[in-house]
């Protein structure tokens, strides 16, 4: 069975600095999809970024980028120029190539200090 692990329950970053959130996963499949979701205090889960396993190039979305290491089964999220609005719970998630359900990590709570 696939599993997703986020080993950092809490992280803190200074405004305008860069922070990296870690995520590892376990799967025997070669084709799958990885996602990072953000859940602010308002509770609305928002998609931050997605990565297709067959693509070697790391995904980027503005200040958000990933470091996808397929052999190591690692999928970290880098947030550059951190802003106060980035403070939230961040979840890493895995989905196999049949689509459908997501498998989530435990979450990392990010705080941003002014």
């Amino acid at each position: 069975a696939q599993t997703v692990t986020q080993s950092q329950p809490e992280m803190s970053v200074q405004e305008a600095e860069t922070v990296t959130l870690s995520c590892t996963y376990d799967t025997s499949e070669s084709d799958y999809y990885l996602f990072w979701y953000k859940q602010p205090p308002s509770r609305q889960m928002i998609l931050v970024i997605r990565q297709e396993a067959y693509k070697q190039q790391n995904a980027t979305e503005n200040r958000f980028s990933v470091n996808f290491q397929k052999a190591a089964k690692s999928f970290s999220l880098k947030i550059s120029d951190s802003q106060l609005g980035d403070a939230a719970m961040y979840f890493c998630a895995y989905r196999n190539n049949q689509g459908g359900k997501l498998i989530f990590g435990q979450g990392t709570e990010l705080s941003v200090k002014p």
């Binding site: 997703v4 986020q6 329950p9 999809y33 996602f35 979701y37 308002s42 509770r43 609305q44 889960m45 998609l47 997605r50 297709e52 979840f91 989905r95 190539n97 049949q98 689509g99 459908g100 359900k101 997501l102 498998i103 989530f104 990590g105 435990q106 979450g107």
Partner: protein, 115 residues
């Protein structure tokens, strides 16, 4: 934008009650999901549905059932609520099973307390 609406933001019920959590999506999505969110455990899948009147168990279905009579609506039912079902419940939808890179869209969640 996709809108997933959960009927209640906060809900308080008593042990033994039958509880209904409702979820509606407005984008004609075929997939709908119910998750439970607990601190330190992330989100865990309770049930999901790929089509009307179709349902499949997720990872933690015990004590729950679901209903999908119409494509846009997916209901989670706690047959006899217990205190260990106090949690945050999140509904989600996505396009269709073959749309592999399409994300799930989430509702705002229902924080359910069982007394």
């Amino acid at each position: 934008d996709v809108k997933v609406t959960q009927s209640s933001r906060y809900l308080v019920k008593r042990t033994g009650e039958k509880v209904f959590l409702e979820c509606v999506q407005d984008m004609d999505h075929e997939n709908m999901f119910w998750y439970r969110q607990d601190p330190g455990l992330g989100l865990r899948l309770i049930y999901f549905s790929y089509d009307v009147k179709m349902k499949e168990k997720g990872d933690i279905p015990e004590g729950y059932s679901v209903s999908r009579e119409k494509k846009e609506r997916f209901s989670l039912i706690l047959e006899s609520a217990s205190t260990n079902q106090t949690s945050m419940y999140l509904c989600a939808s996505s396009l269709f099973p073959g749309a592999r890179n399409q994300p799930q869209h989430f509702g705002d969640g229902t924080r359910l307390s069982i007394l």
